[in-house]
Symmetry: C2
Subunit: 191 residues, 2 copies
């Protein structure tokens, strides 16, 4: 590995936000998942979650811009088990939902440990997820179309989190564990 690449990987590791994540509930289009992984890397997530009942959840390395190498994708077979896992990490659980009771996504404090639940392309978020979440959030829509593309919605929320966390200095202190660092330095050095 060149010294430049080592420095680049180390600088990325310094900025990883281990207490910020998203969970994709049955999001099935691989181009959407790939775009989410790419955004996740760009905002400094080290892991994202997906609820997917079957084997074989696949992301093309190509459309993800190589981000699948840098962001772990953890799958869960049910929404309940996914949310239990996230709550076990002390995270507030936000459900994106196109309802009148949802609050504007920019009103949330994302400097807290946070997991954002994103819904399926066709049916949106499940009733189960809504029941278990702490808060519904919505991105304002000024036009005729009801919803945004799911990878677009994910990015808007994650970049709001990035802005708040940047202001709070959370990109200036390494929080990621030593084992993950070693693994990524090893894998990233021998791609």
């Amino acid at each position: 590995m060149t010294p430049e690449r080592l420095a680049r990987i180390n600088s990325m590791l310094d900025k990883r936000q281990i207490d910020l994540t998203v969970c994709m509930e049955m999001v099935h289009k691989s181009n959407n998942l790939a775009a989410v992984l790419r955004t996740a890397d760009a905002v400094g997530l080290s892991q994202i979650h997906a609820v997917w009942p079957e084997q074989g959840y696949y992301v093309s390395r190509n459309t993800s811009g190589g981000s699948s190498m840098w962001v772990d994708l953890k799958t869960h077979t049910t929404t309940t088990s996914a949310i239990e896992n996230l709550r076990g990490q002390g995270m507030q659980i936000l459900a994106t939902n196109l309802s009148d009771s949802a609050v504007d996504f920019r009103e949330i404090d994302y400097t807290k440990p946070t997991a954002i639940l994103m819904g399926n392309e066709k049916d949106g978020i499940s009733d189960e997820a809504l029941a278990l979440a702490d808060q519904d959030i919505i991105i304002p829509m000024e036009g005729m179309v009801q919803s945004l593309n799911v990878s677009v919605a994910t990015a808007l929320i994650l970049y709001e989190a990035q802005l708040q966390r940047k202001k709070a200095g959370l990109y200036e202190q390494r929080t990621i564990d030593q084992d993950t660092c070693q693994r990524l330095l090893f894998e990233g050095g021998h791609p």
Copy 2:
């Protein structure tokens, strides 16, 4: 047309931002273009532009969530003619570009008449566009991946514009012309 639908369309028309647009330079994946159209409608754009040298630039009505009905897509055969058109409308021209000289996208004043140039999936923005633009802008990247998906990048910038324009009260005064209103009321009433 029901009174509810008429009211819905009129409220959308009230909020249209005729002096804010994007121009997609050779963006060729139809799912990306569809996602951009959907976001454009959500932020209140009445028209977007594309540089496309050939006939037949197509957006699936399905993946665009029906937004192609509400947002005009104007194509240009060259980047130069597209930018001339936009400048002729008095717009500042911003080029998204992954360079060191680009300024953070959140530092721009989007309450001014603004057109944002987005680049092709593989090659990014053209040298021609860079040369003609007033300013390069970039979305900060904290990770390893070099770039975001183009529809994601477009949405992040448009929602920053939405935020600024909302604060400035620009969603509270109808600016769209009467002819376009009549056409959209007619077409939207008989979909």
